[in-house]
């Protein structure tokens, strides 16, 4: 790495200033507040708060509600990541085969990514609303008892599908790029070596996509963990009976609805640790191990 020397001592800091300000205001400040709050407990009237050490953390980790929420989050995140990646991969391999109109096809597939989470949630909510949703109507007419407002599993499916749908575009783009990066001659060598269709896909294409797949797995898990608040808020509000209350949603519920700031802050600190761990995992293992050349 070559180090560049700026003749002006102030200019570099000025150039970095907007980014630094944003990071400090929207990340470091709230993060430090969360850390601070997480070791305090407010009295029942919210008048004063006292230092309690790690008591908030101990309380959370012993709370069955919290552990349930953790389980919900893991199921939700894995299902969302796998579903959206599987669909995106299917679309990307199809798009790779399309010759005419491939740009139109790709552009259309990228649109969902531009939809805001809350809007995406509303979209699916309306489609599957037991009272007025088109799909709910179709399901019910076919003898399927559809009521995500009462049935926790159905509610979970609905948020998973909504969250996965929104992420398909992003995954699709990466998979298309990944597929294009596979040298054509490898595919040709495989076809001469007698591997076609699904066999060629699983023995050559899929292993070569591994770096993309691992990257997306981490990104999607992070997305499902932290970036799906809007969808869950719009579709189920965490219900029914906390069946879709993920960790992030619980932070909001405990902190802003139930005003238990100490516990909520401790929960967000745990979330922060999870993000850091996932990111470190991404850099340390994934980036190094799964590349071929």
């Amino acid at each position: 790495m070559q180090s560049v020397v700026f003749p002006n001592k102030v200019l570099p800091y000025l150039l970095l200033a907007p980014q630094i300000v944003l990071t400090v205001v929207f990340f470091f400040w709230p993060a430090s507040q969360a850390l601070y709050q997480s070791v305090l407990r407010e009295d029942p009237f919210g008048l004063k708060s006292g230092f309690v050490g790690l008591a908030n953390f101990r309380a959370i980790l012993a709370n069955p509600d919290y552990l349930h929420s953790l389980q919900v989050t893991v199921v939700f995140s894995l299902a969302t990541a796998l579903l959206s990646m599987a669909l995106a991969l299917l679309l990307a391999t199809s798009a790779d085969r399309v010759v005419r109109g491939r740009n139109v096809y790709r552009t259309l597939l990228i649109w969902p990514y531009a939809v805001a989470p809350a809007v995406a949630g509303m979209l699916w909510l309306f489609m599957f609303n037991p009272a007025m949703g088109t799909f709910a109507y179709i399901l019910r007419r076919n003898g399927f008892v559809w009521d995500p407002l009462l049935n926790g599993n159905q509610a979970m499916w609905l948020v998973i599908v909504a969250a996965a749908w929104k992420q398909i575009s992003y995954n699709f783009l990466f998979f298309v790029a990944g597929l294009q990066a596979i040298p054509k001659s490898l595919i040709e060598a495989a076809s001469i070596d007698g591997a076609r269709g699904t066999k060629r896909f699983w023995t050559i294409v899929f292993p070569l996509l591994a770096p993309t797949t691992f990257f997306l797995l981490v990104v999607n898990t992070v997305y499902a963990f932290f970036d799906t608040f809007g969808i869950i808020h719009a579709v189920t509000g965490g219900g029914p009976a906390k069946a879709t209350e993920t960790l992030v949603y619980k932070v909001y519920n405990d902190g802003f609805v139930n005003l238990d700031l100490g516990s909520s802050a401790a929960q967000s600190v745990i979330l922060m640790i999870i993000v850091v761990a996932l990111t470190a995992f991404q850099f340390r293992f994934v980036e190094k191990r799964v590349h071929y050349s």
Binding site: E188, A189, I192, D193
Partner: protein, 349 residues
């Protein structure tokens, strides 16, 4: 083992015709080299034989069987790619085994063939490495190994040596030739390098702009090029070409040299020209060259110069040149070293 036949094969990309009707018979066990400048359609031709590229006209037969619409895997051919196309996630052994496994070859037979190929190619120490842990030359050998273990009816090579350095290229060239001789497998080899083509080929096919210019042994092509294109493409440095209408402007031809009616092009190779003595017998062709460049290439020197009319001429002398830049040198060639081409660039006589 098989012969390969192309009958008026054509290929169009949209409205552009890349291959404009190619017919060729390749004998069983023959080593045929397709050679031509970049973009002339060599790779396209090879890929059409492999089945990687569909054909838009004509017929391709391998071992007497028409394969126009047959999948690459069912054509019983193996191909060595320019970038080797080794599967990066598999070990060398797995790379070699892949094609055999897909064909349900018994695993004992796979092991036996891999062992034999690894021995021949001297890649035994690398069998459990991944391709990225190999040098360019080793990868090249693995690519060859992958073709050999299949024991196909024909080998197809697309510029397999162009990514190697000059020394290794020369070495691999000899090895490929030796290997092909001992296996006796029909081979089609594509290159843009005429030196490589000359040394490898039983028969050379010179391709230009989607058409075959000439087919023949390296010697035939060198001695009797059918067109001015082949004349300048084969041989290094290139054959000198002079336009008949310029005769007497710096060069002359003995009156008894046969020539076409009308305009013609005269070709003479640099190695067939030699300085003539003032009092010697007059050669069939003679020219006066003003030397403007001298290259010493090992045991001989190449002298570049211009005639009175500005045409360029190169001639070769053994050892160090006795002339200096700026000298006017009289050079000549005998009648049997002269190549005559008519106005369309076709060989005359």
């Amino acid at each position: 083992m098989a012969e390969i036949t192309l009958k008026d094969v054509r290929k169009s990309y949209g409205t552009v015709e890349a291959i404009k009707g190619v017919s060729l018979d390749i004998d069983d066990g023959e080593f045929v080299v397709l050679v031509g400048p970049s973009g002339c359609g060599k790779s396209t031709l090879l890929r059409m034989i492999a089945g990687l590229e569909g054909i838009t006209g004509g017929d391709i037969l391998i071992g007497g069987r028409q394969v126009n619409d047959v999948e690459p895997a069912e054509r019983d051919i193996a191909m060595v790619f320019q970038n080797y196309a080794l599967y990066p996630h598999m070990t060398v052994r797995q790379n070699l085994a892949y094609g055999l496994k897909n064909r349900k070859t018994p695993s004992a037979e796979i092991d036996r063939r891999i062992a034999a190929a690894a021995k021949t190619l001297e890649i035994e120490p690398y069998l459990d490495r991944k391709p990225r842990q190999l040098s360019g030359g080793q990868r090249q050998r693995v690519a060859m190994g992958r073709a050999i273990v299949r024991q196909p009816a024909a080998f197809l090579f697309d510029e397999p040596l162009s990514n190697l350095d000059a020394k290794l290229r020369g070495q691999m060239r000899i090895e490929i030739k030796r290997l092909q001789r001992s296996l006796g497998t029909t081979s089609v080899y594509v290159t843009h390098d005429q030196m490589e083509a000359m040394t490898l080929a039983d028969r050379l096919v010179v391709v230009s702009a989607g058409r075959i210019e000439q087919v023949g042994t390296p010697l035939e092509l060198y001695e009797k090029p059918a067109t001015t294109f082949v004349a300048t493409f084969i041989g290094s440095p290139s054959m000198n070409l002079l336009h008949g209408r310029d005769a007497s402007a710096g060069w002359s031809l003995a009156p008894d040299v046969a020539r076409p009616n009308g305009d013609f092009t005269l070709g003479v190779r640099p190695e067939d020209l030699s300085p003539i003595l003032a009092n010697g017998p007059a050669p069939a062709f003679e020219a006066t060259v003003r030397v403007d460049g001298i290259e010493l290439v090992g045991a001989e020197s190449l002298l570049h110069g211009r005639l009175e009319n500005g045409s360029e001429l190169i001639f070769r002398v053994s050892g160090r040149a006795r002339n200096a830049i700026g000298d006017a040198v009289k050079v000549g060639a005998s009648a049997d070293a002269l190549h005559m081409f008519d106005a369309n660039g076709h060989r005359f006589g």
